[in-house]
């Protein structure tokens, strides 16, 4: 198993400056690098040897980096990682990066399904790395970047378009009227809070957008997460009727709710269990009710 990429020399160059001048500094660095790589490789082999077959899992990780020669052609690297009870996909990736290949690149931060950084395509389905138990998956585990987004490097995808769609629905509370007294709270009824509760849980991970067949074919489609965001505010009674009409205009535009074909893919993959299809359908009915007047 040789998954190590020829590393570009950037760090630890000025460490030892005691060698004779006959060698050029470049030669010396290259020699040092080769030596270090051989060491790392040997260490990795030893580590992998000593792993008991029983308690290891194999990760097949998508690798690609347009800026590194030898990684421009996408490929899969195998990593054997010791398994422990409760281990998540993210734990395994962190192990592989810290022990085998420091160039393995993926986003993560909170490790507790809050920040939304690590939505990945694991064994053919969008999952949140830190919320996915390895014990639930078949070995070997195939880890890829989210489909339908450009890959920047390894498991990192470009989220720009997703964020644009989120911004397009004006995702902020914006009431028609605010209390005269600036310090007064804008209270919401319990019922109304219950209604929007699930929709407020979105962590902007992008899993739903990536799973959606329609969003893949129509770049202008707002997508499940953005529509859910729109739902969260359109259904908030504190905003008032004018604001709701403005919000409905965004929602019911050509590439808004009407693109949804109720495939339920987004609802299946959402790590926060938001009933996305249900919210989209409710907004469709809301839009119809808003425009159909029989009197």
């Amino acid at each position: 198993m040789s998954t190590q990429i020829e590393q570009q020399e950037t760090e630890t160059e000025a460490d030892e400056e005691t060698e004779p001048e006959v060698e050029s500094p470049g030669d010396r660095r290259r020699a040092q690098r080769d030596e270090r790589q051989a060491q790392e490789q040997a260490q990795r082999e030893v580590e992998e040897e000593t792993l008991d077959d029983e308690d290891t899992i194999t990760l097949k990780v998508f690798r690609y980096d347009p800026e590194v020669e030898g990684k421009q052609e996408p490929r899969f690297d195998d990593f054997r990682v010791p398994f422990h009870k409760g281990m998540t996909i993210l734990d395994a990736l962190i192990y592989a990066r810290d022990h085998y290949d420091s160039s393995l690149t993926f986003r993560h931060s909170c490790r507790q399904a809050v920040c939304g950084s690590d939505a990945l395509f694991v064994n053919g389905r969008q999952r949140l790395g830190c919320k996915t138990q390895i014990s639930e998956l078949d070995d070997p585990i195939r880890i890829e970047p989210l489909p339908h987004q450009e890959v920047v490097k390894d498991l990192v995808v470009d989220m720009e378009h997703f964020y644009d769609q989120m911004e397009a629905v004006e995702p902020y509370f914006d009431a028609d009227e605010t209390p005269d007294d600036k310090l007064e709270e804008q209270r919401q009824t319990r019922e109304n809070r219950e209604k929007v509760k699930m929709s407020t849980r979105c962590i902007w991970c992008g899993a739903c957008m990536s799973s959606c067949n329609i969003a893949a074919g129509d770049n202008e489609y707002l997508g499940p997460a953005a529509i859910n965001k729109a739902y969260r505010f359109a259904m908030d009674e504190r905003e008032g009727e004018n604001r709701k009409q403005e919000r409905l205009r965004i929602i019911e535009q050509e590439h808004g709710v009407w693109r949804c074909q109720t495939q339920f893919s987004c609802t299946e993959v959402c790590p926060k269990d938001i009933p996305l299809t249900e919210h989209i359908q409710e907004l469709k009915r809301e839009a119809v009710k808003n425009n159909l007047k029989f009197w």
Binding site: P66, Q263, Q281
Partner: protein, 139 residues
Amino acid sequence: MSQSYNRGTVEDFGRWREFTAGMWAWIFHKFTGWVLVGYLFTHIAVLSTAVGVDPASAQAGSDLYTSTISGLESLLIVRFLEVGLLAVAVFHILNGIRLLMVDLGVGLESQDKSFYASLLLTGAIVVASVPTFLGGKLA
């Protein structure tokens, strides 16, 4: 930044391992819908060219319409295609009802179960129809 690697539609599709019930329902619904449209046009084309206006031969049972129909029914492949047509139509109708429920927001949590129910019911109806379609003598 250098250009990034675009994985392309075909490659994406090949990597998909898990379709869920709702996605299968969508695929089948599109497929059956278009098969039905195809059948509708074939149906119109065949029958509209098979209506003769000859009362005498109609009386004798040897007019163009009767001979076209019995000619088709004498082919085994046509009998099987009829079973297939029924399957496609029944699934489309049952899943169509499921989709109407989904549009009305009724029972969204059990949309997967209603899809499986549509499949099972389609299967049962199709099996029950086999004697009728394949039973008669291939004249």
